[in-house]
């Protein structure tokens, strides 16, 4: 009988056979190999399948599943998590991994050590090196809520200062992620789920560059709508993203009471209000906020989606 690994890595794949071998090798070269890798392919091709087949021999805990119909990014990210939970329900930790990024060999070891040592932390993530089309650079951006025990304060800080694109590929407690609602059908769903996650625990940043993040293009909300919802975007995703996030938080925690037993509906409504207020402030001061772009006050920059 095989024992369950402690970590499941979920890879939502989308037609990157040229980057996949190097990406897989950076995962299979981890100093901590106590993980399984679940790949759900949203645009299956013989090339990707062949790459995966090649690596099965050196890493048996590799699961590959091809979608018969394209789900879109949001649904595929959800499916990856659900498959991971179904295959390894007792694995306490989970992380999404892309089919094109790279990870330092100590990435998983360091993040597991944080979650093992700090029960109050629900997400650990490292610094990253941005692999841009013509150069690579370390952009040191610090954000963590380690030591902050107040949910309201964690929500406030997350709403104002969090860098979702840097954090969403961190290692999370699977139970907390499930409670937070995984990915929802909104724009910048990574930000939304991380906001919800802030209600269940703290975030710790590991001060080492252990993740190499490919960034091919800047943030583009129109592109998000088409990529996330290939069958057509629902009407509400044309609302400002912070309103969408507030709506989901309110629905989940104020109306449905999904925060119980940790916190009740009234508290859920309060946290959602904190999110909305601080997200509005963030939108007003953020250099690359939507209103600045709309007024042409901000040139396109290579900041990645989700940031």
């Amino acid at each position: 009988m095989t024992t369950s690994p402690r970590v499941v890595l979920g890879m939502p794949a989308y037609n990157r056979p040229e980057t996949l071998p190097r990406t897989l090798e950076s995962l299979f070269s981890q100093t901590c190999l106590d993980f399984a890798l679940v790949i759900v392919d949203d645009l299956p091709s013989p090339e990707v399948a062949a790459v995966v087949d090649r690596y099965r021999s050196i890493f048996p805990r590799l699961h590959y599943e091809a979608n018969t119909t394209r789900l879109g990014m949001v649904a595929n990210w959800r499916k990856v998590f659900e498959r991971a939970r179904a295959l390894y329900p007792s694995a306490p930790y989970f992380a999404w991994v892309s089919d094109h990024d790279l990870w330092h060999a100590r990435w998983l070891e360091e993040l597991v050590a944080v979650l093992d040592a700090e029960p109050g932390v629900v997400l650990a993530y490292p610094e990253n090196l941005r692999m841009l089309p013509h150069r690579s650079e370390i952009a040191r951006k610090e954000f963590e809520t380690a030591g902050v025990t107040s949910r309201a304060e964690r929500m406030r800080r997350s709403s104002r200062f969090m860098l979702a694109g840097n954090m969403i590929y961190g290692l999370v407690r699977a139970e907390a992620l499930a409670a937070a609602g995984v990915f929802r059908a909104v724009v910048t769903p990574d930000r939304q789920v991380l906001l919800a996650l802030s209600l269940f625990g703290q975030v710790r940043q590991v001060p080492e560059v252990l993740w190499y993040r490919e960034i091919l293009r800047g943030f583009d909300i129109d592109r998000q709508r088409s990529v996330f919802f290939p069958q057509g975007a629902p009407f509400y995703v044309y609302l400002p993203s912070h309103l969408q996030h507030w709506g989901v938080l309110t629905w989940d925690f104020a109306i449905r009471g999904r925060g119980r037993p940790a916190f009740g509906r009234l508290a859920g409504a309060w946290y959602a209000a904190i999110q909305l207020a601080n997200a509005v402030v963030r939108q007003l001061v953020l250099p690359k906020s939507g209103w600045r772009r709309a007024l042409g006050l901000r040139a396109a920059d290579p900041s990645p989606e989700g940031d």
Binding site: L129, M131, R135
Partner: protein
Amino acid sequence: MSHADPTGIPRAAAAAPAVGKKDAARLAATAWARYLDLRDRLRPLREADRDVEWSDREQRLRDGLAPYWDATPESIADLRECGKVVSGVRRSQYKGERAALLQAQLDKDLERLLDKGDASLLQDEPPVLGGFGFASLGKRYNEDTLRYFRVLSLLQDAALLEDCRRQPRRTIWEVAGNWGGLAFQFHSACPQAAYLMTGPAELLLVSSVYLGTLFPDARLRVWEPARPDAFWHAWDEVDFAFAPESAVPALAPPGLLLTLDLGALDQMTPARADAHVRRAHELECRYVFSVCAPGQPDPAQATAVEPVLDRWYWRHPVSTAAGLAKRLALGPARRGAVDRTYRLSWRRLLA
């Protein structure tokens, strides 16, 4: 920032601050004793490498260092002079009126490097064995100092220095390890790791004497052609180890983590370069960090290494922040030159 006083004389003396007379004499005596011992142990390595097909540049290097086989106590006391043969950095550049110009340029580099890197990694040019350089921003340095600091900074950015400090003890392999300058800085940053150098015996001679003098308690080991297996015995007791190139196919250092190449592979034939990288791969060395020689990148020379690396390792991005991206060589930078200048590579699992 001003780099010279109103008279135009460089602010810092060209020579690094002298150590006291007594200390200098003691160090010179230590260096001479080290030299006599190491010379005798390293001589047989010349014979062991008799079949190596050195390139013209390597042969010139060997010829330039050959006098050290018959050195005097005075030339060993001034060992850093060998740098002009190995890296092209000459003490004479740090003296006289033209030194102000060089200092202005290097001060800018230093400032940029310190701005992006961890200043605690920068080891001053030691004022012994004829060490020389400028003094600025509280540092004493020359061009080589900055170059090696840049290597350490990049390794730190790549989170590799931390790996080198961990247990079980790691081995670092420097291919054709220059005059010992990188080894000095690396050992200062990661004293836990064993440092293996291979290459022409002449380079090993100057490196070993330099390191043995700077680190008098360091444990040095030299390859013995008659007893190759003994080289790996009790490896935990080794700080620096020196082996000829002919030993590369038989290298078996425990815990090899990182292979460093500061322009040596570029000078080899593809077959010799391949033998080095292949051996690193066979030894499950996770990383190869390779840098072009000063004055590079020259695509005609650099291209020989890339296919070799690509066969055994994944070339990998390094942090190349704007402005500093191409500065390691401290020479003219060109757009697109970065990948040829720095090559941090991760081991392929399916090579």
